[in-house]
């Protein structure tokens, strides 16, 4: 006899709760509740430099309104995060990572995101992961020396890999992990179809890169790639758009070949075991806002991930933003489904190439 009443009570309670939740909590990107995080502290981890300064500036409104105390730490190292998660003492609340880690370690190091707590409606299509939202967009673009190639510039990655038609020194991202998109382009050059790549094909792709010869420069840092362009030491360079933009601004006589530029993003994540998950969500949601993204782009020249953002930037920056319809059409997205399970194999083989083998 008691059962029905309990049931009704529960239903009523649920109704009230969800109603309340909807009424006050349907999140809007960029929305911050006044004083909601008073007395709380969040640690935001990213890669330092101009980038993290820009992110901090983008989060200023969130800090001011919510009353949270924001600490910055970095650079992001997955190994450090792993140590925190394993020891059960996670001090990093929101972590900016590379493309792949949130997919590789989803559920292990990074929380599966509850999308009812975030407004992801303004994020470009296909960029929200199970454990991540994008932090910003940029590209890996083929930059070539205008003076060297004059009337016959390289137009695609195929030209980049063709040392006979396009002699010259190549510069490749050797900062650590392989770039999936580049290996797919290399595999395509070797005659394969990147969309049906198998593990054995990784070797074929890496061989294409190896055949570029002993002159090839594997740059270790973005700054080095920029310096290679400014000093003219490499004739063709695989570059991050931010660095390419700065190099051209500083007078490097290089131009981009946009066809199949590789779409890359940084990811925003919440580690497993953070002390205040809701506060971390609040930060993410504020970060995704239109204003925050405009500030981010204006400070860092990275492409915003809120489609409504209208950052005010000068022409040199605008030339390297990747969210225009034209660029979106030319972009090449790596085959995430392939690289996530094969990340370790690819890294192993890439490291061997990096070590001169």
């Amino acid at each position: 006899m008691l059962k029905p009443r309990y049931g009704i009570g529960a239903v009523l309670a649920l109704g009230v709760l969800t109603g309340a939740a909807f009424a006050q909590d349907k999140p809007v990107a960029g929305g911050v509740k006044e004083g909601s995080l008073e007395g709380k502290t969040l640690t935001f981890v990213s890669y330092g430099g101009i980038y993290q300064d820009g992110q901090t500036a983008a989060l200023k409104e969130f800090v001011d309104k919510s009353g949270v105390k924001l600490l910055n730490d970095g650079p992001t190292e997955i190994a450090k995060l792993q140590a925190q998660v394993e020891s059960g003492n996670v001090t990093w609340d929101v972590v900016d990572t590379d493309d792949l880690p949130p997919y590789v370690y989803c559920g292990k190091l990074f929380q599966k995101l509850d999308l009812t707590k975030l407004d992801v409606s303004k994020i470009p299509e296909g960029q929200v992961g199970e454990c991540s939202v994008p932090a910003m967009n940029y590209g890996v673009v083929l930059m070539y020396n205008k003076e060297k190639y004059k009337d016959n510039p390289p137009k695609s990655w195929a030209d980049f890999f063709d040392t006979e038609k396009f002699p010259g020194v190549r510069g490749i991202d050797g900062s650590g992990s392989p770039t999936g998109g580049l290996l797919e382009q290399a595999f395509k050059y070797a005659g394969g179809d990147p969309r049906s790549m198998t593990v054995a094909d990784i070797d074929k792709a890496i061989d294409v890169v190896r055949k570029l010869g002993p002159d090839t420069i594997f740059w270790k840092t973005g700054a080095e790639s920029q310096q290679l362009a400014e000093s003219g030491e490499a004739d063709m360079l695989m570059m991050w758009t931010g660095r390419a933009m700065t190099a051209v601004k500083n007078g490097a006589k290089y131009a981009p070949a946009w066809q199949d530029w590789l779409v890359v993003m940084d990811q925003m994540t919440i580690p497993v075991g953070v002390k205040d998950t809701d506060a971390a969500y609040a930060l993410l949601n504020a970060y995704l806002g239109k204003n925050a993204q405009e500030i981010l782009t204006e400070k860092t020249s990275y492409t915003p991930i809120n489609s409504e953002a209208q950052p005010k930037v000068d022409a040199s920056v605008a030339a390297f933003l990747t969210n225009t319809p034209e660029r979106q059409k030319q972009g090449y997205k790596q085959n995430f489904k392939f690289w996530v399970p094969n990340f370790a194999v690819a890294q192993e083989k890439w490291s061997a190439l990096m070590a001169g083998n």
Partner: protein, 289 residues
């Protein structure tokens, strides 16, 4: 006899002093245990226990040709760095013993000032000097020579590392050399030895302890170098530390990274154990002459 007694410590007293002097080393010992012993133990344990107990990480290390190539290269580069350091430091340290105090101060400062500058900054200045469009190559070209490839080569890495490690060679050498009685060389000369003979049979053997001390420090420090080979080197000058970094930081393979560290450590011990008898005999010879 009884007058002598107070100055001759009893066995018990001597034991007491010995204990007290051991006790004085306690802070250093504790520090070493905390910052070296414990982490080292952790590394060894993790290399044996991740992902499960066993020798799989070591089997992996010796099964991958790239690891062995890079291990060998790490030792080769470190050996070259040591040779370059000895050749550069020896005359420099000798000069420090031969000049007056004021010039010596300048010489000491020249050694120490770069030592106070961060390694990254020094390495980046080497980039500016060594790169294809850098200072050295510009000078060569303006003098009518062909440019040389220095950056991203082993030569470049050896030059950069030798500069960073030079103080570790000069200082021990100098401290030994300044204790050498130069009258011994004069005596050799007055007995009819040519300067080269006096140097090779008298001065050089007496200075060898300094060479060995410096060489061991430089060699061991060089084995673990990371920043300099990463920035000045190319694929063919990658050292083991870079591979460790990849395993730990991007693949989260702590066990493999640990195994690489342990292999490097053991290889170093073996090498030093092989070198020790040679050095010991030289010490003896130096004493006899």
């Amino acid at each position: 006899m009884s007058a002598l007694e107070p100055t001759t410590p009893s066995a018990l007293q001597r034991a007491g002093w010995a204990w007290r002097s051991y006790a004085l080393t306690l802070p250093a010992l504790l520090l070493l245990v905390a910052v070296i012993g414990y982490p080292l133990l952790t590394i060894v344990l993790r290399s044996l226990s991740e992902p499960q107990w066993g020798l799989q990480n070591y089997a992996w290390f010796f099964g991958a040709p790239v690891n062995l190539t890079v291990l060998q290269r790490t030792f080769t580069i470190s050996a070259w760095v040591t040779v370059v350091c000895v050749l550069c430091a020896y005359p420099y340290a000798y000069l420090m013993t031969a000049v007056g105090p004021r010039v010596r101060l300048v010489l000491v400062l020249c050694v120490l000032i770069p030592f106070w500058v961060s390694g990254v900054v020094r390495t980046l200045s080497w980039v500016i000097l060594l790169q294809d469009s850098g200072v050295i190559n510009s000078l060569l070209r303006s003098a009518g020579f062909d440019g040389v490839r220095l950056i991203r080569t082993q030569t470049g890495v050896v030059i950069g590392m030798a500069q960073v490690l030079l103080p570790f060679m000069i200082l021990p050498l100098y401290s030994v050399m300044k204790g050498i009685d130069l009258r011994l060389v004069q005596a050799a000369r007055s007995l009819g030895a040519r300067p080269s003979r006096a140097f090779f049979t008298v001065y050089l053997p007496l200075s060898l302890p300094g060479v060995y001390a410096g060489a061991i420090i430089v060699f061991i420090l060089a084995l673990g170098f990371y920043i300099t080979p990463a920035l000045l080197g190319g694929p063919r000058s990658t050292m083991l530390s870079t591979l460790v970094q990849t395993q730990v930081l991007s693949l989260l393979q702590w066990g493999r990274g640990g195994a690489m560290g342990v292999v490097l450590l053991i290889a170093t011990f073996v090498l030093l154990a092989l070198a020790a008898p040679v050095m010991r005999s030289r010490y003896r010879d130096a004493g006899r002459r």
